[in-house]
């Protein structure tokens, strides 16, 4: 057995050693741990690890296979997202022990802190003592065994799984209910306790989900689709969309769910123009070869950066909201255009990993489909805090789209209306987030960029936190961003516009003298002109979601949530998905991205610049008083006509110019 002494080396170095011992199959003892965080994080070998003392946050977090024993106590987030293996703690555990575990045995001989087993999916979390407030909060599966008393609101918002309590049940959470034990069930639990030497004598009570809240009580009636262009009417009262909304509410008695983002007119990049007259610029088919668009993201702390052939990424969209075919087409297009894809919520599926040259994997509050293995496979790791379409709220995936396969990937019961948690179990403030970022760094050996996705809400504070908490880059998403499903009111009225978001974000970074943390802007970016304007304002790049989907056949009918997408994009029904031609749409998306590249290059070239990053605020004017107020750019409405002519000129040539057509091999 090898020994690692934390009195002489730091945790990062120790974890590197642990991984090496893991490869060699040698068991390890950690001495002088002194409650330090991240001990054993990212260990994916079936070795035994003995911690001779207390461990801090995320002990044995993001692991697959080790057998860990801790002689003392542990801090928050014990065995975070552990897939296989076991952890035994002799003392007490802090809050959210066993958070998001997906199959391990996690045994705490003492007491459990608050919210034990939050969003756990499978495996067993057990304590010999008592559990505090909200044990089993939002659990999706597995079993939680509490030999002592359970605190208030046990099983709050649980969806699946079973909780056993040996002592007193202080109070039950919403939609949790006491149930009869099946024959043999008690023996199973007792055998588990016997196996780990947890003494217990008494009668087990069983708590399961009461099933009252797994689906919306009334489904929305099918209505005639009102497409985006009709929804975005000039009046924002009593138009077709408002009337439809009222009709539906009259039927179901609650807010309604739809896809896409805000449809009302908002100040946007259209309201800016280039000072220079781009209308007189001669189109140049070879312009792309004459400017520098390539960039990279993520090297702020020594990770391997993500290389991009142009400052554009595919925005995060989940397999779930989108069909697998659509995810594969996006991945292929990202490879053809040599940029970077993103998994969105729900995990990185093998087909996407295979098709995308580069892909970022997202971690959301529900930890659906999230694992250390996905982190290792990805080229970057991203913490989703919120998104522009619905800042502060979690995703919704209606039962029609929660298939057996998607449920299995996400570790949830099939056929529920999945309402993802709106916050992370282990991030209740900037102080927790900094430790979470460290955990990700430890799990990936500081090799993968770690980014954060922020919906534009309280941008000024949030982006400062992102800088201080040590992210590599920020994806900032404005109100014009879309989503697969959210309440209509939220989509229209919650959040702030993309233009206001980027200004607030850049101002805030300047306020604290923050440099070197790039901002990727998203939310209504539709072409190379928008991209050029965003970069001129100070963004490092953009991400495109909706426009890529439209390039791949979306008709913007706003019915994404229903699950019967007629073009096979926002559906999991094989009848509809069968209509989607993956290779053809991959090429369409690729062509769109190349048109974007050509436009962007043309704008850069027309200014006489060599690099896209020579664009600056000085090149821009505002066409409306609102946009001038938001951006502090000079208000010059006379530029409007020229700007239109310029956009027309740049759009006329280049799209599809000389593009090869052929097999997509990824």
């Amino acid at each position: 057995m090898a020994t690692v002494d934390l009195a002489t080396i730091g945790v990062t170095e120790a974890n590197e050693l642990l991984r090496r011992y893991g490869v060699e199959g040698e068991d390890v003892e950690v001495v002088n741990p002194d409650a330090r965080h991240h001990i054993g994080v990212g260990l994916t070998a079936p070795i035994a690890l003995r911690v001779r003392g207390s461990a801090g946050y995320f002990c044995a977090g993001l692991t697959d296979g080790p057998r860990v024993e801790v002689d003392g106590n542990v801090g928050w987030g014990l065995a975070d997202n552990m897939l296989n293996g076991s952890v035994v703690v002799r003392g007490n555990a802090g809050a959210i022990a066993g958070v998001a575990i997906r199959g391990a045995d996690v045994v705490v001989h003492g007491n459990l802190g608050s919210r034990a087993g939050q969003v756990m999916k499978a495996g067993t979390l057990c304590c010999g003592g008592s559990a505090s407030f909200m044990a089993g909060y939002m659990m999706y599966g597995g079993r939680l065994v509490i030999c002592g008393d359970s605190g208030e609101q046990v099983g709050q918002d649980m969806t699946g799984g079973t909780i056993y309590v040996g002592g007193k049940v202080v109070s039950l959470g919403t939609d949790a209910a006491l149930a009869e034990l099946e024959p043999g069930e008690e023996d199973d639990v007792l055998a588990f306790l016997g196996r780990y030497g947890v003494p217990f004598r008494g009668q087990l009570k069983k708590i399961t989900n009461a099933g009252r809240n797994l689906r919306y009580s009334r489904t929305e009636p099918r209505v005639r689709a009102i497409p985006f262009h009709a929804a975005a009417d000039r009046t924002d009262y009593w138009n077709a969309k408002v009337q439809e909304d009222i009709h539906v509410k009259a039927q179901i008695g609650r807010y309604r769910i739809r896809g896409y983002g805000a449809t009302r007119p908002l100040p946007h990049l259209n309201d800016l123009a280039f000072r220079r007259d781009l209308g007189s610029v001669e189109p140049d088919p070879d312009v792309v070869s004459k400017v520098e668009l390539a960039t990279s993201l993520g090297g702020r702390f020594g990770a391997t950066p993500i290389e991009l052939s142009m400052p554009v990424m595919i925005a995060p969209m989940s397999y779930g909201a989108l069909s697998k075919s659509t995810k594969i087409a996006l991945a292929k297009a990202s490879t053809l255009s040599d940029i970077c894809d993103n998994s969105g919520e729900g995990g990185l599926i093998p087909e996407v990993r295979e098709a995308a040259r580069r892909v970022v994997v997202q971690c959301l509050g529900g930890r659906l489909g999230w694992s250390v293995n996905a982190m290792r496979q990805a080229d970057g790791v991203e913490i989703y805090i919120s998104q522009g379409a619905k800042p502060g709220l979690g995703g919704q995936l209606m039962a029609a789209k929660v298939t057996e396969e998607i449920a299995r990937l996400r570790g949830i019961p099939a056929g529920i209306d999945l309402r993802s948690p709106s916050r992370h179990p282990d991030v209740l403030g900037a102080d927790d987030l900094v430790i979470k970022v460290e955990e990700f760094r430890e799990a990936t050996g500081w090799q993968k960029p770690v980014s954060v996705k922020l919906g534009a809400g309280r941008v000024r504070d949030d982006i400062k936190i992102a800088y201080k908490d040590g992210f590599d880059y920020v994806c900032l998403d404005g109100l014009q961003g879309s989503t697969g499903a959210a309440g209509n009111e939220v989509l229209e009225y919650v959040g702030i516009p993309t233009l206001a978001g980027i200004m607030e974000g850049l101002d805030a970074l300047e306020e604290i003298g923050a440099t070197g943390m790039p901002v990727v802007l998203m939310g209504g970016i539709k072409d190379g002109i928008d991209t050029a304007k965003a970069i001129a304002l100070g963004a490092h790049g953009v991400a495109v979601g909706t426009s890529a989907i439209i390039a791949g056949g979306c008709i913007a009918c706003l019915q994404c949530a229903v699950g019967q997408c007629v073009v096979g994009i926002a559906t999991q029904d094989p009848r509809f998905e069968g209509r989607y031609d993956v290779d053809a749409e991959a090429w369409h998306i690729h062509h769109y991205l190349e048109a974007l590249r050509w436009q962007l290059a043309s704008v850069v070239h027309a200014h006489g610049y060599r690099s896209v990053y020579e664009l600056s605020r000085g090149d821009l004017v505002a066409l409306t008083p609102e946009a001038a107020e938001i951006t502090r750019l000079p208000y010059e409405p006379d530029h409007a006509e020229r700007a239109l002519a310029g956009a027309a000129g740049l759009a006329g040539v280049g799209a599809g110019h000389g593009l090869p057509r052929g097999e997509v091999t990824g």
Binding site: A35, G53, N92, S132, G151, G429, D431, I435, I465
Partner: protein
């Protein structure tokens, strides 16, 4: 957005308080790299009051000090000792008049950090070791104290926005807080109507004044903490210290961490166990995480 720590030595009047708090705060500095602060208590010396002010640097500092001295003279507070250190000026004075009146008057003359018969607050931008180097916190011996590391979000990174917060107008009450009080303005207006003054927009100052007001009315600290859990909305884990006691209160949602260790000699409380372990390197401690919605106080056993 921060980390907190506190320690009370049950018998020792001359314990290595400064060293202990520097180590504990260094242990959780990752929770707040922007600024660090200490509220340190020593045995009371008769009517002697310790006052500490932010005075800045250079010429401006000279003018501020002169202004403070005039104000002290107005109140017939005799200066016993003075020391300029870092960006602060400390006075020890003899004063027996109305304390709230004096402190409000001084507040209007300069940025007052703390007043106390036992209390001294040291806080500045930077880490625990930075502040220790500038103010020699480690050399401070005493009875009990609390400390704080801050990650600034809403308000700027300046020394006066750092913790701990002194309960403006009340001697010897200090607080460190991790979390966010969401009914801040409502509570503040209520206290302002009763004549209390606030000198920052930081929600932690509110907790300090709220508790000090109760203490001044003769409410025991434990009862004041119990009431605070009902009266304050939001997320909080906070530590409060007075001349004789320290205590904690924790919100009902258990959103902010806190862990404590107690033996015959001392009680130590911190956001994370890693801070407690700094006091006892190499030892596995028996610690307790206070349940949500709880409070407790400890008094020196003299």
């Amino acid at each position: 957005m921060c980390g907190i720590a506190g320690i009370l030595y049950k018998q020792d009047e001359d314990a290595p308080l400064g060293d202990a708090l520097v180590a504990m705060l260094d242990g959780c500095q990752h929770r707040g790299p922007d600024s660090t602060g200490f509220a340190l208590y020593h045995e009371r010396n008769g009517d002697e009051l310790r006052l500490r002010f932010f005075v800045g640097e250079g010429e401006e500092a000279g003018e501020t000090v002169a202004r403070i001295e005039r104000k002290l003279a107005d109140f017939e507070a005799g200066i016993v000792e003075r020391e300029r250190i870092g960006t602060t000026q400390r006075f020890t004075v003899r004063y027996t008049g109305d304390l709230q009146e004096l402190s409000y008057a001084l507040e209007h003359a300069a940025k007052l950090i703390s007043i106390g018969h036992s209390l001294d607050i040291v806080k500045d931008v930077g880490g625990a070791h930075d502040v220790d180097r500038a103010y020699h916190v480690g050399a401070f011996h005493g009875t009990h104290g609390i400390g704080h590391v801050r990650l600034a979000t809403e308000s700027d990174v300046t020394p006066d926005r750092s913790h701990p917060f002194w309960a403006t107008g009340f001697a010897d009450v200090a607080i460190v807080h991790n979390g966010q009080i969401t009914n801040y303005w409502k509570m503040r207006r209520r206290l302002e109507k009763r004549g209390f003054e606030f000198h920052t927009d930081n929600d932690s100052e509110l907790i300090a004044v709220y508790l000090a007001d109760k203490l001044a009315q003769g409410v025991p600290l434990a009862d004041a903490l119990r009431d605070s859990i009902d009266d304050l909305d939001g997320t909080f884990s906070f530590l409060v210290s007075t001349q004789e006691e320290i205590g904690y209160a924790k919100d009902r949602l258990a959103a902010k961490p806190m862990v404590m260790y107690e033996d015959d000699d001392l009680v130590a409380i911190a956001s994370e166990e890693v801070s407690l372990n700094r006091l006892f390197p190499g030892r596995s401690l028996t610690t307790v995480e206070p349940p949500p919605g709880t409070y407790r106080t400890w008094r020196r056993s003299t």
